[in-house]
Amino acid sequence: MVSTIVHAGFALVLAAGLLRGDYDRRALAVVLAVVLLPEADSFLGPIMSGAHRTVGHNFTFPAAAALLVYYDTRIRGQSLLRERVTERGVRIAWVALFVHVFAHVSLDWAHLDGVNVLWPLHDSFFRLEGDLFWSSADGLVQTFVDIDLDPETGSRQVDAGSTGTTQSVHVNNPVEPDDPETLAEAETIDRRFPVAGRGWRLYLVGLGVFTVIARRLQSDPPAE
């Protein structure tokens, strides 16, 4: 996994940008809890093949949650959620959902074997990797999605970075730091808890810390 600390750093930046008047310690704590929660699918690893990056890391559940919140707060006459947590709680719930999609699932999508994008509807891991540039020789080039046209049959093959299914993919994590079969034979198990595996991940951690400190140091606007 991209380290949870990296997710948290980026989550703080996004939350600070979206919470507006609701920005305070409690709201940030809720957002950070939502960032932390999906990593619990690591613990399902021993009982379900490929559970990490599947159960907590997909776009199906957030979409379903968004539909539910929308239905409950906008369409129903009496909103259960609003009654429980007030209007402020509803706003924080939307921010938490946004942060979960962009700071957690999406960042993991771009890391190692990616995430199981449409699980449980469709069991397939996808990885977001490539670049997008304009070249004076080749024009606009993107390598995120490969589209191959078979010259003989004319059939089109689209590869959006598929890496396998829950049966074939195992993403290392501190609970299962290696393939389950290799782990069963290993004498000593080296569990690694990453903080930042690359420079840009350290940058995102720093960006989150900077944002929170800057928000604290800022002066309040004058009363009008």
């Binding site: 940008g17 999406s106 997008l132 304009w134 004076s136 690694r192």
Partner: protein, 226 residues
């Protein structure tokens, strides 16, 4: 040089996070423009050897501007609280969204230019291992690098040329014949940051905000946009 689009996206995210009540199209545009400023040194490199990621990518400019902002009162008198806030956030956009992303990836930044002309890259890993303890390779204490700072260095302004789309070989001269590449997004995570910035601004500027605060008209619409 990190993609300019990434600098702009990070600038927009910082603007949304830090501007507070001063947040509107104009102030966001100022912060994003400040985040794009450092990349202008690529143009200077056409005439001046080794200007890319050095001339406007050093710590001195942000430090000087911060000192000015702190000391100066003209800005406060002329533009009030709002002007001061936009000024500080634009400075953050310049340093944190404009310069810093280049420091954490190849080809690096000449942080102390022109005092010394060494490029630095802060790239490595930091983790805790149950077998090896804390492992970190960001800061290298064994200083076989040419500079004073304890970071990895890909070279100096003389030995290390930074190619950009403005200046494909990184050396003075126009090099009209060579292929130019304007990189928009270099890796998956950058695509995620750009998408997050677009989505964040979309949410902040959403047109349906006003209709949601139907119980309290106009005045608290401003309150909600804080």
């Amino acid at each position: 040089m990190a993609p300019t689009l990434l600098n702009a996206a990070l600038g927009a995210l910082l603007a949304a996070a830090l501007l507070g009540p001063a947040f509107d199209w104009r102030s966001v545009a100022i912060v994003v423009a400040a985040a794009l400023l450092p990349d202008l040194d690529a143009i200077a490199s056409l005439a001046m050897a080794g200007a890319t990621n050095a001339l406007v990518h050093n710590v001195w400019i942000p430090l000087a501007v911060a000192g000015l902002l702190y000391w100066d009162t003209a800005l406060r008198e002329r533009y009030g609280w709002r002007g001061v806030r936009v000024g500080w956030v634009a400075l953050a956009g310049f340093a944190v969204a404009g310069v810093a992303p280049d420091l954490f990836t190849e080809p690096g930044v000449s942080l102390l230019y022109p005092v010394e002309n060494v490029y630095y890259v802060v790239d490595g890993l930091l983790l805790f291992s149950t077998q090896d303890g804390v492992v970190q390779t960001f800061v290298s204490a064994s200083a076989d690098t040419p500079g004073i700072l304890p970071f990895e260095s890909p070279g100096t302004t003389e030995t290390h040329a930074v190619p950009t789309w403005v200046n494909p070989d990184g050396r003075p001269g126009l090099a009209l014949g060579s292929e130019r590449r304007l990189v928009l997004v270099d890796a998956g995570w950058q695509a995620v940051v750009v998408a997050s910035a677009v989505a964040s601004l979309g949410v902040r500027f959403r047109p349906w905000t006003r209709s949601r605060t139907e119980a309290t008209p106009e005045g608290s619409g401003r309150e909600a946009s804080r």
